[in-house]
């Protein structure tokens, strides 16, 4: 069976729904530099919908929820396949947009910069476990609401732990001679 081309679904409304879903996921994934992965996921979504006969009006359930569940399932399968093939991303942006996997650190990234990163991680490891967790999530770019949701914690608790965790981290870094602008 030959695979369908993008946009080959017979139902234009369904194809429009898939495109809108892909755009929404892509906007969220842009925070992590994952747009290319999202494109792969939704190509797989199209293939699965085509195979299920979705483009021929055979969907028994509401198409929106079906596309949503299929996207997650396709993402899971994509990651499993990559792991089985021992594939690692050739290039993947970090949330700050400054550092990219698969590339050597920029030439102007001094030894001092790299040591600072090690130092920050050491001090995060030394924090109380719940504060360390929220600090890592915060530095990875997750919002306070996302952190609270992910950990099933209340928003006030999460807000307090982020505030205290970052304060503790800065205090520990100051004790190591790392001021507001970096190493002294």
């Amino acid at each position: 069976m030959t695979e369908p081309e993008p946009g080959d679904l017979r139902d234009e409304a369904l194809e429009a729904l898939v495109r809108r879903s892909a755009e929404q996921v892509r906007r969220l994934a842009a925070r992590y530099g994952l747009e290319d992965r999202v494109d792969e996921v939704f190509q797989e979504v199209r293939i699965r919908l085509w195979r299920s006969g979705a483009g021929h009006g055979n969907l028994a359930e509401a198409p929106a929820s079906y596309v949503y569940r299929t996207a997650l399932s396709a993402a899971v399968d994509l990651l499993r396949r990559r792991r089985a093939r021992r594939e690692t991303p050739a290039k993947l942006e970090r949330p700050s947009g400054e550092a990219v996997f698969g590339e050597a650190p920029p030439a102007d990234a001094s030894l001092e910069d790299r040591e600072l990163g090690d130092l920050i991680e050491q001090e995060i490891d030394a924090l109380a476990p719940d504060r360390a967790m929220v600090v890592r999530l915060h530095l990875a770019g997750y919002s306070r609401e996302e952190i609270a949701d992910l950990l099933s914690w209340t928003e006030p608790r999460t807000r307090h732990l982020i505030y205290r965790g970052l304060a503790d981290l800065r205090e520990r870094l100051r004790a190591r001679g790392i001021g507001p602008e970096g190493p002294a």
Binding site: Y32, A64, L79, R83, L173
Partner: protein, 76 residues
């Protein structure tokens, strides 16, 4: 130190780590990441997994992909 500076330094650390090794030792299975997203299992187990995920550049990216694919809803 500003949030931005902290984030940049931490990002660079993880990028260097990723460039140095892609062995994926100790990384949780994709299904385990899904359990974290679905809030399944004990809180301790989830926190332990998240602890690794957030300190591992590869797991962090995979987790973010699952999270975005699993939470986006098409507009009404």
């Amino acid at each position: 130190m500003s949030d931005e500076r902290l984030r940049l330094s931490y990002d660079r650390l993880l990028a260097v780590r990723a460039a140095m090794s892609s062995a994926r030792e100790g990384c949780p299975e994709v299904d385990a990441m899904l359990e974290v997203l679905r809030r399944e299992g004990t809180e301790d187990a989830r926190l332990q997994l998240l602890d690794h995920i957030m300190a591992c550049p590869f797991c962090q990216a995979e987790f973010a992909l699952l999270k975005t694919a699993g939470t986006a809803q098409p507009p009404e």
